[in-house]
Amino acid sequence: MPLEESYSLTTKEGHEYRIGFSPFDIFATPKSLTKPIVDVVIAIDDNKGINNASTLFEFSKIIKEYLFKNDVILYCYCDNKEIERGKKHQHLSPQEYRSLLFEKMFDKASNKDFINKPILLIDATDNKHCIHFFSSTQNLDQIELLSEELYKAKG
């Protein structure tokens, strides 16, 4: 089954999002990692979408459906483009806020079949990068393997 898929989702407010899944091979992966890594990207023109509960629920439904069909590790990089955030979340960077939304989205559709591993990467310039791994609970060891590999990455 091909791992590449893309969907468009029009929210009830009329915003059109694109959700894309594609194989990902940037990480150095250990031999013991047997599951493919698939990148999930959520995009909208000009980042003018609305991040309400029903939109997050639709995203999580698409991601869960994909994981039901494909036994993979999903990877997501939260980008740092500006995003509307309420007073309560002004202290968070756009990346951190997106990461929080991912977490909420994931927990909203929460069941014991799936896991979400948030990872904060801080580089030599003190820039923060938020990434997530998602998969079915049975792949917990695979997610831990990938996380360890990132931890060891010295370059």
Partner: protein, 42 residues
């Protein structure tokens, strides 16, 4: 279920190259996705 977050701080050049690549890859994929004509409607 959301697991305990992992924080990784790494000052090596290799790590900086890696995160730079991750960011560039994401930007390119967003661009490609938005210009894609064929997608499944949900």
């Amino acid at each position: 279920m959301t697991l305990q977050p992992l924080h990784i701080k790494n000052s090596s050049k290799g790590f900086l190259d890696l995160v730079t690549k991750l960011k560039a890859d994401k930007d390119a994929k967003v661009k490609a996705l938005l210009s894609k004509k064929t997608t499944i409607k949900k």
